[in-house]
Assembly symmetry: C2
Homo-oligomer: 497 residues x 2
């Protein structure tokens, strides 16, 4: 036992260190590395990746994981048991999938985003279809390789991104949305017109002032600048490596004031989650969010439920007016609230509003499910996409560019990933209700005491890092299983006016 | 042979990659990493450093170097011969110095800067003296371990920083300065008072405007932003890793306009040198400047000889006035020129002007030489420092804080390093003369054609990276051996008015 523990922890130390440097390279690359430096950097990264592969596939390490897994009952630390369980689960890929197939697939997906981008630009699905067919085919084979008594079909993929959530859980969730939300959305968005000053959408908001407001927001949310920082990048993201270093980016569009505000808040939700992980996980594989869905629940709660609330803007709108006195002159906080909460039937997921967002995701879920089950062919995707969009969101795309070609995810092989986006918002609504029973959230916002919200989430979600599964986190935090009713109620309540 | 070549190049690839990640970590740490992230980062770096040590001390790698060195005559590529020669030279440390002594010394010097900093703060040399004694003592032993027929005494250390430059060369250099420059400086600085508008030293120059001027300077000097960038840090520095990625920092002091201007230009001199290295060296150990002295020659030529020239400011002063209209109102370019070229007897090396700078360095050279030769005890340093300063610069420090305790270098074990600072300026003057015979430098500056200067330096200095020794570079560039007369003449000419 002692021997295997030593092998495991020594190897983990190396993997963590190499991951750190890979992380740092990614951060540098996305935020400031000079354009012409990519080739040299890639070459160095390949050496690191090769070393990493050697370490991770070392037979002694694999043997250690297998031994520890077989004797997991005698491991005293429950966190360590979880870690070993995860490590053993990760071995599946190496042990059950033929190496050459896995490598060809990795090569395929590393090049596919270029093909996808060109197809999207040309608005020509046929350019991407052969590649996507190969990706879907591999995933169907992958499912067969990895199936167990508990996990079958599409569930194998879904479980990779959100442990414990399969077709059964998602069907329950999306059926609720179909029944409750779709008719509501179609009703609310019927012929609606924005009821706010057009200047909010047409004025120019200088970058430097937007940056100042983002800095103000970091204070409001108590984002800890001793362990984080805000920078700019093409697409906003959060990049964390430990509870002592989790950084965010935003993007300033001078013609869109809302964009940087809600990107900054969204990313702070992700970052505060990881910064509030118990530091004891820093040196383990358990640091970080437990799943994509739980991660997204935090970012969306901060962005939408806190950041787009009236209580929030009653307190902070004056600061925004102070920074943009001309642009916001004569525009009331109520109008601003309507502007940041406008809803409409739209075609592009990443531009969708809070109300319709999950319905965009539902389209993808249906399509993935049918493709993996063999009921839908890649060639039939574009039309199926159009008809589902028209059914769920009430708007039919005319082109594939604003339809099936809009997302990059499938080109990278991410099938089973999309549903977590919708799940995150639904988790958030359920967590919000639980938290609101113990602290008055609106009051905390109004008293500029988001610290209290951070603290509650720390104790009920963040501190556990990945040591608990999404379902366990939900139980700890809300004392209930997942229930999409909270989400539907929240949305109906907010958008019924 | 084939086998050893493969071992060597494969190992080099790994060392280069690991160095890349170490480089990136240093850059991040000095420019933006959140304060609280240091502990986690250090832990990861230790793992990398250990791996690096394993690779570098692998007996198979050492054997390969020894074999290749023994058969260097049959290596066809002359660059590769240089690389093997250097690698073999570097083995000395491992082979001739007892490992435990080397490790204790590294531990000592890794902690000594803290002790030095406290001693400096308290202005108490006695706090630092015992540590410095140990450092000097180790260096005296090191000299004994590494002495050869060609290199004896202090030369062993000097050669580490500037190959081919020993006491003989430096004595010739500094004797010239003593004879020619010291009397000149004492004459020129006698009772001199600044003859420029005091507003240059008292006005506030907002950081954002200073940043704009630094951006303007990057254009003027054709610093390639596809392969570089400018950021801020506590102390300005250049950080390069390949001919495709060499970055600089500056520091904006709102009460000191000159500081960021000349820091930016100085660092561009370093950066352009490395960016103009032949890219074929990127994957070898020959990328980078050949020595500290040659590196400093480039930075100081850009900063002082180009950047502090009248031709330069005649062209660019209007841009500065445009950015600081109030602060510079009514101040002529002639006054500005006097301001940036003021000379005075001062105590602190890093604040010294162009004329007196090398005399500060000379003090350190004399002291090091005597310490390593055993003629000067650490306890006698403070007084000796004071008397040399008074002799060479004409000003006697009252405290050790503004005397022997001012520099961090000795605490890190860098003995033999200082002289290269003075040498750099002297190289620069000699190179400038050579270049001026082929292109009219003042005219190039006046016509905003610094590109022509960059190009000349590329062909005569930069392209060779470390494949030539400092002496060889000087021969290629100036067709002469080192001659300090150029430097003395340049300074006398510039400052005689």
């Amino acid at each position: 036992m002692e021997k295997y523990l030593t092998i495991y922890t020594e190897t983990r130390k190396k993997i963590k260190a190499f991951s750190y440097f890979g992380w740092l390279m990614g951060w540098d690359q996305e935020t400031e590395a000079p354009e012409g430096s990519v080739e040299y950097r890639t070459k160095q990264y390949q050496v690191l990746a090769e070393e990493m592969y050697k370490i991770q596939s070392d037979p002694a390490y694999i043997e250690a994981i297998e031994y520890l897994y077989a004797h997991k009952e005698s491991l005293e630390d429950p966190d360590f048991r979880v870690e070993i369980k995860n490590a053993f689960k990760d071995l599946r890929m190496v042990k059950k999938v033929p190496k050459d197939e896995l490598i060809s697939y990795r090569v395929l997906t590393s090049q596919a985003s270029h093909i996808w981008a060109k197809a999207k630009e040309a608005d020509d699905f046929q350019m991407f279809a052969p590649t996507l067919e190969k990706i879907v085919e591999f995933n169907r084979k992958l499912v067969k390789y990895l199936e167990t008594d508990e996990l079958k079909g599409y569930d194998v993929l879904l479980d990779m991104y959100e442990e414990g959530f399969g077709v059964k859980e998602y069907d329950l969730f999306f059926d609720t949305l179909k029944k409750e939300l779709v008719p509501f959305v179609l009703e609310v968005t019927k012929g609606n017109k924005p009821k706010f000053n057009r200047r909010l959408k047409t004025a120019i908001f200088p970058k430097e002032q937007q940056r100042k407001f983002s800095e103000y927001l970091m204070e409001v949310f108590s984002y800890d600048l001793k362990h984080g920082l805000l920078k700019e990048s093409a697409h906003p993201f959060t990049s964390g490596v430990s509870s002592t270093d989790t950084r965010i980016t935003t993007k300033f569009h001078e013609d869109n004031l809302a964009s940087s505000i809600f990107s900054t808040i969204h990313e702070m939700g992700h970052a505060i989650y990881e910064l509030q992980n118990d530091p004891k996980y820093d040196d383990t594989f358990l640091h970080g969010g437990t799943s994509l869905g739980i991660h997204e629940s935090q970012s969306r709660m901060y962005e939408n439920m806190l950041g787009r609330s009236m209580a929030f803007w009653k307190l902070h709108y004056p600061k925004l007016v102070e920074l943009f006195p001309k642009q916001l002159k004569g525009i009331s906080v109520e109008e601003f609230y309507l502007y940041i909460n406008q809803v409409e039937r739209s075609l592009i997921r990443i531009e969708a509003d809070e109300l319709t967002y999950s319905l965009h995701v539902m389209v993808r879920y249906e399509l993935e499910k049918q493709m993996i089950n063999g009921k839908l062919k890649v060639k039939d995707l574009p039309n199926k996409w159009k008809s589902l969009m028209s059914q769920y969101v009430g708007k039919r795309p005319k082109t594939d560019k604003e339809g099936v070609l809009q997302d990059i995810h499938w080109s990278g092989g991410a099938i089973g990933y999309f549903p977590t986006y919708a799940l995150g918002s639904a988790y958030a609504a359920q967590m919000y209700e639980a938290m609101n029973k113990e602290i008055n959230i609106e009051e905390a916002i109004s008293k500029n005491n988001i610290k209290a919200i951070n603290l509650w989430l720390k104790e009920h979600v963040h501190t556990f890092a990945s040591s608990k599964s999404p379902k366990e986190i939900l139980q700890i935090c809300t004392k209930q299983d997942f229930n999409p009713a909270y989400y539907v109620n929240y949305l109906k309540n907010k958008f019924k006016q």
